[in-house]
C-alpha cells in the first residue's frame, strides 16, 4: 500500500507542474518564530528549513500535492493542507514517544530503544518548587530512588539509594556523572559517624539546579558501561547548553523563600526542672510539708546551677508542677523566689525564620556554528537555627563550537564556592543546642533571658556563661554565636572534548575532565562543658578526579538494520588528601591558632586510586521495532590485583510496530523490555596489605605504633552485582494514560566485608569478600493526562511507586550478623535470613502473647542484642499533580512512605528526662500508676505469680519518674515506625501573556510563582509520639546513619516566591 502511494507520488512528480508555497512557523508556547523547523511536502523530495524569522519558502511544489509535513525537535509534527502564506503553529510535545534520553557515557538514544529502566527528570520538574538543592529537588520524583535529606539544618547532606540497599559498604551511593564526567558526591562530615559531628553537605549539591537541563537515573543494568563503579546505579546530569533556537537570550531566575521551623517534638508543659518534684513524690515524702515547701526543699531550688541548690544541676524536668502558684528560686530570678510557670514556646523561641534567596543570570546563544550558555548564580541561606548560614557562588559555561564540517569542540566548566559562617554541630554533645533545649532541659526555662544575657561578662570582662545550668550545657545562644563551625569549599569541574567526524557515520571523540575541590572547615569552641578550655579543629580536604576517555562511534544502516558501535577507553586517576589539626586546651580563650594550644594533634591522610578501562557497546535496531544492546567493559584498578569484566545485554521490542493491526486509539503504545548485567562496586585504596599505624599523638614524646586491627586481604575483589529486569511501557488513549512497570532482581555477591570478629582472635576486623544479598523489587510509574484542553484546564497526575525487598542470604562462615551503623548500644545490622538493616538493641522480654514481663519490683525484664525492627520502608509512593489553565500552572507533590523503623535518641532522652509530652500525660505524675493501665497504656504488662506459676496482668504500682528512668536501657521503647505522608512540594505559577510582554519590548518571557517546599507533614504513625519528621537524620550520611535519629534539628517548611524573566 505504501509502496503504491510512493509509486503514485513518483508518477505525479514526473508529470505535474509546480508552484511556490511560503509561510511562517511559530510556537504555540510563546508565539515566537521557530528557527530550523523542517518543512517537507508529503511524498515529495521537496523541503525547506525555516530561517531566523521562522519563515520558509518552498519552490517547485508539484501541483496536486495537498499536504505539508512540518516538524521540529520537541514539537508535535503537523500535517497541513497546502495554502499560500501559511501560518503554522506547532505545539510542544511533552508526550512525544520518540523522546530522546541520555544514557551511559552521554550517548543520546531514542527512549523506546532502551531495554533498561531509566527515568528522566526535566529542568521544569526540578525547579518548579524552588527546592533548595538538587537532592531535595529529586526527592520522590524517581521511582525506586530514595533521597533522604538529613535533618533541618542549613546545607544538610542527603543519602540517595537506588533500588534499595544491597551493599554492606558504608558508602553505597550512586555514581554522579555530569555531562559525561564523573564527579564526587562524597559527604564532607566531621565527627565519628556515631555520636556527633558537623554536616558540610553532599558534593552533588555544588551543582546549581537552574543550570540543569535534565537528570537521568540509570537504575540497574543501564549503568553497566560504568563497570566497577556502576554497582549502586548512576545519576546522569546534563547541564543546559545554548538555545534550541538561533539567537541570544538572557534569563534571570530568582527565588526568595522563608523557612519556618515545623515539626518540633511534642513536649510537656506541666512540670519544670528538678527531680522528685511532682505531686506523687510530695505525697510520698511530704513530712507534713506544704507543696510549696516540699518543692523548694526537695524539688528544685536554684543556687549555682551545678548542684549547689536543690537539683539545680539536674538537666531534667522531673521537678515541681508549674503554673500552680509555686514560687521557687530560678536561674533568672536573681535570688528571689519567682513564680514557677511554664514557657511552652521556649523551644520555638530559640529558632528564627530562615531566609533563602537564589539568583541565576544566564546567557544563551546559538548561531550556525556556536552553541553557548553561561550562567552566574548566587544563593544565600540563613538557617532556622540562629546564626547559621550557607552561601553559594557559581559560574558555569557550556560551549559547543563547530570548527568545520568534521571537527567540533565542547567546553564545559563549572565553578562553585560554598561558604558558611557557621553550621550546627550535630549529635550528642554540648555544642549541639538541641541537646540542652529539647533532650536534657527544664520546661520552665525562659529562652528570652538566655538570649538577652548570653554575652554577659563579669567585672574583669570574662564571660559568666549565663545559663540555666552550669554544667553539661552551655547557653544555646553562646554556642551559636561564639562556638563557630566555618566552612568553605571551592570546586571546579568540567571537561574539554574534541570531536572528529571523518565520515558522516564515524565519530571520534576525545574527552578530558576533571573534578577538583578544596574544602576547609574550622570548628571552634570558645567554651562549652565538653571543652571548658576551648577547642578547635581545622581541616583541609582536597580531591581531584581526572578522567580521560577516547571513544569511537560508528553508525551505519544496513537495510532495515541500524547499527551503532562504540569502543572506548577510560583512564581515571583520583587523589584525595586530608590534613587536619586538632587542638584542645587553648591558653587564651577564643584564639584559634596552633601556637595557642597545649597539644596540637596533626593528622594526614591520603588516597590514590588509578584505573584503566576498555569498553564497547553495540546497539542494533531493526525496523524501529526491535532493539538490542550489548555492552562490555574491562576494568583494571590499582586497588584490586586482578582485572574484572562486566558484560550486559538488553532488548526492547515494540509489538505494536511489528503487528500494526494491534495499534489502536486505545492501545497506542506498547513496549516490552528485558536486560541482564554484571556490574561491580570497587573498594577503596590500600585494602590488600597489612600495615602498622601511628596514634595521632605521641605519648610522653614517643611515637606510638600499632598493628592494623583489621586483617586485610591480598586477594580482594570488587563487589559483584548480577541483575536482571523485565519491564513494559503501555500507552493508552493516545498515550493519555502511560504505564511503566519494572520488575528486577539483584544478586550482590563478594561483598567487601569488614567483619567484626570475636575480638579475642588478635584482630577486631577482617576484610573478606563474602556474603550475598538478594534484592527484588517493583517500580511503577503511572502518568495520566486527566484533563487535556488547549484553552481550558489541564491536569496531569503522576504516581511513582516502588518497593524493594532485600534478603541477606549469607555473610561469612560462622557469622550471621554484620554491623553497619552503631550508636547508643543500637546497631544496624545485616542478619542472615533477614532484610538489610535490622535495628538491634535491648528489647523487652515478652510473654508468648506479647505482654511485657515485669520483674517483682515492677521494672521491665529486658533482653539484649535482639532485633527490634528494620529500617527499610515497605514501599514508597509519590503522587504528583500538574495543573495548567491558560497562563496559570501549578503543581503539588505528595510523598508517602510506609514503614521503615527509626530509633530515636531524642525520644530516648526526652523520655528519661521527663520533657516529652508523654511523660506527663493523664496525671501520671500525681499518683501511683499501674503499668499498662495508667502509664504506657499502649502496652500490656504481666508479672509472674509464683503461686499460680503463671504470668498475670501486672498489678504493681510505679511512679512516672522511676518508670521512665527504668525504661532507659530498653532501647525498644525509643523506636518508632517511620511512615509518613508529606506535602512535599507545591507551586503556583503565572506566565505573563505575550500580549503584555510584547509591549515591554525587552522581555520575551516572564513568570512568577508561589512556591513551597517540605510544606506539611500531614501524617505520621502513632508510635512517633514526639511527631518527629521521620526524615530527620542522625550523625552519619551514609549507610551508618540510616534508621537512627540523633538530636536532630527540626525540619522546616519553605514558602516563597520565584521569578523567571527571559530577555
Amino acid at each position: 500500500m505504501l509502496f503504491l502511494a510512493y509509486l503514485f507520488a513518483c508518477v505525479c512528480t514526473a508529470t505535474a507542474q509546480t508552484s511556490k508555497v511560503d509561510g511562517v512557523v511559530i510556537s504555540a508556547d510563546d508565539g515566537q518564530p521557530i528557527i530550523g523547523a523542517s518543512i517537507t511536502v508529503k511524498g515529495e523530495k521537496v523541503g525547506a528549513i525555516t530561517d531566523i524569522d521562522g519563515t520558509f519558502t518552498l519552490e517547485n511544489v508539484p501541483l496536486g500535492v495537498k499536504t505539508l509535513v512540518v516538524s521540529f525537535i520537541g514539537m508535535k509534527s503537523k500535517e497541513l493542507p497546502i495554502k499560500s502564506n501559511m501560518k503554522i503553529v506547532l505545539e510542544s510535545s511533552q508526550r512525544m514517544l520518540n523522546e530522546v534520553v541520555v544514557t551511559a557515557l552521554g550517548i543520546s538514544r531514542d527512549k523506546k530503544s532502551i531495554g533498561n529502566a531509566m527515568q528522566t527528570v526535566k529542568t521544569d520538574e526540578l525547579t518548579a518548587a524552588a527546592a533548595p538543592s538538587i537532592t531535595s529537588a529529586l526527592s520522590g520524583k524517581v521511582a525506586g530512588t530514595q533521597v533522604n535529606t538529613f535533618g533541618g539544618t542549613v546545607g544538610a547532606s542527603a543519602r540517595i539509594s537506588i533500588r534499595g540497599n544491597s551493599s554492606l559498604d558504608n558508602d553505597q551511593q550512586p555514581l554522579i556523572v555530569v555531562d559525561g564526567i564523573p564527579i564526587s558526591n562524597s559527604v564532607n562530615r566531621s565527627g565519628d559517624n556515631t555520636y556527633g559531628g558537623v554536616d558540610y553537605g553532599s558534593g552533588i549539591n555544588d551543582i546549581n539546579v537552574e543550570d540543569i537541563e535534565s537528570v537521568t537515573v540509570l537504575k540497574g543494568g543501564a549503568a553497566a558501561l560504568y563497570g566497577m563503579r556502576a554497582g549502586n546505579g548512576v545519576i546522569l546530569i546534563t547541564t543546559k547548553s545554548g538555545n534550541k533556537k538561533k539567537g541570544t537570550t538572557v534569563s534571570y531566575d530568582g527565588s526568595l523563600t522563608v523557612d519556618y521551623v515545623v515539626n518540633l517534638p511534642k513536649m510537656q508543659n506541666l512540670y519544670g526542672e528538678g527531680h522528685d518534684g511532682d505531686e506523687y513524690h510530695w505525697k510520698q515524702n511530704s513530712e507534713g510539708l506544704t507543696y510549696q515547701d516540699y518543692s523548694s526543699k526537695y524539688g528544685f531550688s536554684y543556687v549555682d546551677g551545678k548542684g549547689g541548690g536543690v537539683n539545680d544541676g539536674y538537666d531534667e524536668s522531673w521537678g515541681p508542677r508549674m503554673n500552680n502558684g509555686l514560687k521557687l528560686l530560678q536561674f533568672d530570678s536573681n535570688g528571689v523566689a519567682a513564680p514557677w510557670v511554664s514557657d511552652k514556646n521556649n523551644i520555638m523561641d530559640f529558632f528564627q525564620h530562615g531566609i533563602t534567596q537564589n539568583h541565576t543570570v544566564s546567557v544563551a546563544s546559538t548561531s550556525d556554528n556556536v552553541q553557548v550558555r553561561a550562567s552566574l548564580s548566587y544563593r544565600k541561606q540563613t538557617g532556622t537555627v540562629p546564626n547559621t548560614d550557607e552561601s553559594r557562588y557559581g559560574g558555569s559555561v557550556n560551549a559547543t563550537i563547530k570548527l568545520n564540517k568534521q571537527v567540533s569542540m565542547n567546553f564545559d566548566g563549572n565553578y562553585t564556592r560554598t561558604k558558611s559562617g557557621n553550621l550546627l554541630d550535630q549529635g550528642y554533645k554540648d555544642n549541639n543546642p538541641m541537646q540542652g533545649l529539647i533532650e536534657w532541659s527544664g520546661r520552665q526555662i525562659n529562652m528570652k533571658n538566655l538570649k538577652k544575657y548570653w554575652a554577659q561578662t563579669d567585672a574583669a570582662g570574662n564571660y559568666t556563661y549565663y545559663n540555666w545550668i552550669h554544667e553539661y550545657h552551655t547557653n544555646p545562644y553562646f554556642v551559636m554565636n561564639k562556638n563557630l563551625n566555618t566552612y568553605q569549599r571551592d570546586r571546579f569541574f568540567g571537561k574539554s572534548s574534541l570531536q572528529y567526524n571523518p565520515f558522516s557515520w564515524l565519530k571520534v571523540e576525545g574527552r578530558m575532565g576533571v573534578d577538583y575541590y578544596n574544602a576547609e572547615s574550622k570548628e571552634c569552641i570558645y567554651f562549652d562543658y565538653d571543652y571548658p578550655n576551648g577547642y578547635f579543629d581545622q581541616r583541609i580536604l582536597s580531591n581531584t578526579e581526572f578522567n580521560t576517555d577516547l571513544m569511537v562511534t560508528a553508525t551505519k544502516t544496513f537495510g532495515n538494520l541500524n547499527v551503532v558501535g562504540i569502543v572506548g577507553t577510560n583512564y581515571r586517576d583520583n587523589l584525595w588528601e586530608d590534613n587536619e589539626v586538632e587542638c584542645s586546651g587553648l591558653t587564651i580563650p577564643g584564639v584559634y591558632t596552633v601556637g595557642n594550644a597545649t597539644s596540637p594533634v596533626y593528622t594526614m591522610d591520603h588516597s590514590h586510586i588509578r584505573s584503566n578501562s576498555v569498553y564497547g557497546n553495540l546497539s542494533l535496531g531493526w525496523k524501529g521495532q526491535l532493539y538490542m544492546d550489548a555492552s562490555a567493559r574491562n576494568d583494571w584498578s590499582s586497588t584490586i590485583k586482578k582485572s574484572f569484566f562486566y558484560p550486559s545485554v538488553s532488548m526492547s521490542w515494540l509489538p505494536l510496530e511489528s503487528f500494526k493491526i494491534l495499534k489502536s486509539k486505545t492501545l497506542s503504545f506498547f513496549k516490552l523490555r528485558a536486560s541482564y548485567a554484571d556490574i561491580g562496586s570497587a573498594t577503596s585504596a590500600y585494602k590488600n596489605q597489612n600495615y602498622y599505624y601511628a596514634e595521632k599523638s605521641t605519648f610522653n614524646g614517643v611515637t606510638q605504633l600499632y598493628k592494623s586491627t583489621t586483617l586485610n586481604n591480598p586477594d580482594l575483589k570488587p563487589e559483584n552485582i548480577h541483575t536482571w529486569e523485565v519491564g513494559s511501557e503501555i500507552g493508552l488513549f493516545e498515550d493519555r494514560l502511560h504505564f511503566d512497570i519494572a520488575y528486577y532482581q539483584k544478586r550482590t555477591t563478594d561483598q567487601i566485608l569488614n567483619i567484626t570478629t570475636s575480638d579475642v582472635i588478635g584482630y577486631s576486623y577482617m576484610l573478606v569478600n563474602a556474603g550475598q544479598i538478594n534484592n527484588k523489587g517493583v517500580e511503577l510509574q503511572f502518568r495520566g493526562d486527566i484533563l487535556r484542553s488547549e484553552r481550558g484546564l489541564n491536569w496531569t497526575t503522576t504516581v511513582n511507586f516502588s518497593r524493594d525487598r532485600s534478603k541477606v542470604i549469607a555473610l561469612y562462615k560462622g557469622i550471621d550478623s554484620y554491623g553497619m551503623g552503631w550508636t547508643w548500644g543500637i546497631a544496624t545490622q545485616a542478619r542472615v535470613g533477614s532484610q538489610w538493616g535490622d535495628l538491634v538493641g535491648t528489647t523487652y522480654q515478652r510473654t508468648t502473647d506479647g505482654a511485657i514481663k515485669l520483674s517483682s519490683d515492677g521494672t521491665p525484664v529486658t533482653a539484649s542484642a535482639q532485633v527490634m525492627g528494620n529500617v527499610n520502608p515497605d514501599y514508597l509512593i509519590s503522587w504528583l499533580h500538574d495543573f495548567r489553565w491558560r497562563n496559570w500552572s501549578g503543581g503539588l507533590m505528595l510523598d508517602f512512605r510506609k514503614g521503615g523503623k527509626i530509633w530515636s535518641q531524642t525520644m530516648m532522652h526526652t523520655y528519661v528526662t521527663g520533657t516529652a509530652s508523654i511523660t506527663a500525660k493523664n496525671g501520671i505524675r500525681t499518683k501511683a500508676c499501674v503499668p499498662g493501665q495508667d502509664i504506657s497504656t499502649n502496652e500490656r504488662f504481666e508479672q509472674y505469680n509464683s503461686t499460680t506459676g503463671k504470668w498475670e496482668k501486672a498489678t504493681c504500682t510505679v511512679d512516672a519518674q522511676n518508670w521512665y528512668e527504668s525504661l532507659f536501657t530498653a532501647n525498644e521503647t525509643y523506636m518508632f515506625d517511620g511512615s509518613f505522608l508529606k506535602l512535599r512540594e507545591m507551586h503556583l505559577t503565572y506566565d505573563f501573556p505575550k500580549s503584555i510582554l510584547s509591549k515591554t519590548k525587552y522581555i520575551s518571557r516572564a513568570s512568577i510563582s508561589l512556591v513551597g517546599d517540605n510544606v506539611a507533614l500531614l501524617w505520621v504513625d502513632r508510635s512517633n509520639t514526639l511527631r518527629l519528621d521521620p526524615e530527620c537524620g542522625g550523625v552519619s550520611s551514609d549507610s551508618r546513619g540510616v534508621g537512627l535519629e540523633q538530636a536532630s534539628a527540626p525540619s522546616s517548611r519553605s514558602i516563597g516566591i520565584k521569578l523567571n524573566l527571559t530577555f
Binding site: 527531680h275 596489605q689 610522653n700 532507659f968
Partner: protein, 502 residues
C-alpha cells in the same frame, strides 16, 4: 576505512599499555601507614593503651571497691552490660596482647639479642591478662590471638588454667632475668620504667607475689611456696618494696593523654567519696583523708555519700570530692602496683605462719608507712597514726582495712581484695535508711536493677557484647551459673560463702 580502524586499535593499545598497570602496586601502598615498626614504639602504644582503658576505672569499679559514690546520675548504670565500659577493657587486653605478640613473633629469630624486650612483653601480657581474668573469670587464652591460624571462634580457658599459665610465664621471666639482664635496650617506648630492667624485674616478681596471695584460699600450698620463695630470695627475685619503684603509669598531661581522673574532672562532677570510706578515714583520724578527700563545700566537713541511692536530693555541695592529688593533676598517675602491697602481702603471710623475713607487725607498719609516703605524708605522721588508731592489733580486719585504704585509685586490686577476703566488711554490711524509713543495703544499692535479689557488689564484669554476638557458642559454655550478668558464679579464688554473699 581500514586505516582508521588500525589507527584506533593502535591508539587504544597505547592508552592501555602505556599507562599500564605496573605502577598499581606502588599507587596502592598507603603513604600514611608503615610497613614495619620498631619494637619500642609498639611497646609505647601497648603501655599507653593499657593505661587509657584500665587506668580509666572510675565508673562502677571505684564504687565496687567502696571508695566512690555517685553524687549525680547514680541511676546511669544498673549493672547491666554497657559496652563502653566493660567492652573497652576487654578489647584493650586482646588488642594490646596482639601487638605484644607481634613483637614476640618478629623477635623470635634472635631471642637472646631481644631478651629484655621479650621479657617485658611477657610480663605486660601477664599483667593485662590477670586483670582481665580477675574481672571476667574464664576467658579465651590458650587459643586466643590465632586468627592467622584460622581460629576464629575461640574456646574459653578456665580461670584456674589462665592463672597457672600466667604464673609459669612470670616465673620463667623471673628466672630468665635472675640469670642476668639482656643486652638490648627497651628504648624510649618504655614509658613505664624508663628502660630500667631492674624495675621491670621487680614488677615481674611483685606480680608473682600478687598472684600467689590471690590464690591463698584455693591453692594454699602453691601460694605459700611462691611467697616464701620470693620474699626469702630478694636478690634473685627482687620485688617492689620501695615507694620510688612503684609501678605508676604517669600521664603526659597533654589533652589527649590527661590523667583519666583529671580528664573526667574537667567536664564532669559525678563522683564523691563514699560514705563508708569517708566515715572510716575520719573515724581512724587517718591523715590520708586530707589527701584522698576534700571537705564538703557547703560546711567544710568531710562527708561521704551513700552508695547506690536511686536519686540524689539536696545540694551536692554537702559531699566530699576526691582530693586534688588524685584527680586534679593532668600529669597524674594510674597505679598498677604499690610497694605497700608487698608489705601487706608479707604481713598476711606472717599472720598465716609462713616463713617470711618480717613479722606481721613489722610488715604491716612498713606497708602503712609506704602508703603514707605514697600520699605525700611524712614518716612522722605515719608513726603517729601507727601509735593510735592505726596500731596493728593482729587481726585480719586491721590488715585488710589498711590494705584497702592504700589501694585508693587502684580499684581493681581493691575490688579483688574485697572479693578474696570480705574486707572492708563495710561493703557488705552498711545499710542506708531513707526518709521513708525504707532500709536498703548500700551495696549493690537501691538503684540496682535487680532489686534485692543480690546483697553484694558484683562478683564479676558482664561479658562484653562482642562475645555475645561473635563467639556465643563458646561463651555459653562458661556462662553456666552466672546470674544477672554480674553475680552467681564467683572468681575461682573467691571462696566467700554463696549463702552469705549473693
Amino acid at each position: 576505512m581500514k586505516k582508521i580502524f588500525q589507527y584506533i586499535a593502535v591508539l587504544l593499545l597505547i592508552v592501555i599499555t602505556g599507562s599500564c598497570t605496573d605502577k598499581f602496586n606502588e599507587i596502592n601502598t598507603d603513604p600514611d601507614a608503615y610497613s614495619t615498626a620498631p619494637y619500642t614504639n609498639i611497646l609505647c602504644y601497648c603501655l599507653q593503651n593499657t593505661a587509657m582503658n584500665w587506668g580509666d576505672d572510675l565508673s562502677d569499679l571505684s564504687t565496687w571497691a567502696g571508695f566512690i559514690s555517685k553524687i549525680q546520675y547514680p541511676d546511669n548504670y544498673h549493672y547491666i552490660s554497657t559496652d563502653n565500659f566493660f567492652g573497652n577493657k576487654w578489647l584493650c587486653t586482646y588488642t594490646t596482647v596482639s601487638d605484644l605478640n607481634d613483637i614476640m613473633t618478629r623477635s623470635q629469630s634472635d631471642t637472646i639479642g631481644n631478651k629484655n624486650m621479650r621479657n617485658v612483653c611477657k610480663v605486660w601480657k601477664c599483667f593485662l591478662v590477670m586483670m582481665t581474668t580477675d574481672c571476667y573469670g574464664d576467658i579465651p587464652y590458650s587459643e586466643a590471638w590465632k586468627a592467622t591460624e584460622g581460629v576464629l571462634k575461640t574456646p574459653y580457658d578456665s580461670q584456674k588454667s589462665v592463672y597457672m599459665a600466667i604464673d609459669s610465664t612470670l616465673s620463667a621471666v623471673a628466672d630468665s632475668w635472675a640469670s642476668g639482664e639482656g643486652t638490648d635496650k627497651l628504648g624510649p617506648g618504655d614509658v613505664m620504667f624508663s628502660g630500667s630492667i631492674k624495675k621491670w624485674q621487680r614488677f615481674c616478681n611483685s606480680l608473682r607475689l600478687r598472684l600467689a596471695v590471690r590464690l591463698v584460699n584455693v591453692e594454699p600450698d602453691k601460694s605459700k611456696a611462691t611467697v616464701e620463695k620470693i620474699l626469702n630470695n630478694s636478690t634473685t627475685y627482687p620485688v617492689i618494696d620501695n615507694c620510688d619503684d612503684n609501678a605508676y603509669q604517669r600521664w603526659d598531661g597533654t589533652s589527649t593523654y590527661y590523667d583519666r581522673y583529671y580528664n573526667d574532672y574537667l567536664t564532669r562532677d559525678d563522683y564523691g567519696i563514699s560514705e563508708i570510706f569517708m566515715n572510716y578515714l575520719v573515724n581512724q583520724k587517718d591523715p590520708r583523708r586530707t589527701v584522698i578527700a576534700k571537705v564538703a563545700a557547703s560546711d567544710g566537713k568531710y562527708r561521704g555519700q551513700y552508695n547506690g541511692v536511686n536519686s540524689i536530693s539536696g545540694s551536692i555541695n554537702q559531699y566530699s570530692r576526691m582530693g586534688a592529688f588524685y584527680r586534679e593533676n593532668p600529669k597524674g598517675f594510674s597505679p598498677y602496683y604499690k610497694a605497700c602491697e608487698t608489705y601487706f602481702a608479707e604481713a598476711e603471710a606472717a599472720m598465716r605462719g609462713w616463713n617470711v623475713p618480717l613479722t606481721a607487725e613489722e610488715a604491716y607498719d612498713k606497708g602503712v608507712t609506704c602508703s603514707m609516703t605514697d600520699n605525700g605524708l611524712s614518716v612522722d605522721s605515719a608513726n603517729v597514726y601507727l601509735e593510735n588508731k592505726g596500731k596493728f592489733d593482729g587481726t585480719y580486719s586491721r590488715l585488710y582495712h589498711e590494705w584497702w585504704t592504700s589501694l585508693f585509685k587502684e580499684n581493681i586490686e581493691a575490688w579483688s581484695l574485697y572479693r578474696r577476703t570480705g574486707y572492708p566488711d563495710e561493703i557488705h554490711n552498711s545499710i542506708v535508711t531513707y526518709s521513708d524509713k525504707k532500709t536498703v543495703k548500700q551495696y549493690p544499692g537501691e538503684y540496682c536493677y535487680y532489686g534485692t535479689t543480690h546483697n553484694d557488689v558484683p562478683f564479676r564484669f558482664p561479658y562484653p557484647n562482642n562475645q555475645e554476638l561473635y563467639n556465643a557458642d563458646n561463651l555459653k559454655k562458661v556462662q553456666n551459673g552466672i546470674k544477672d550478668y554480674c553475680w552467681g558464679k564467683k572468681m575461682y579464688w573467691d571462696t566467700r560463702s554463696d549463702n552469705e554473699y549473693y
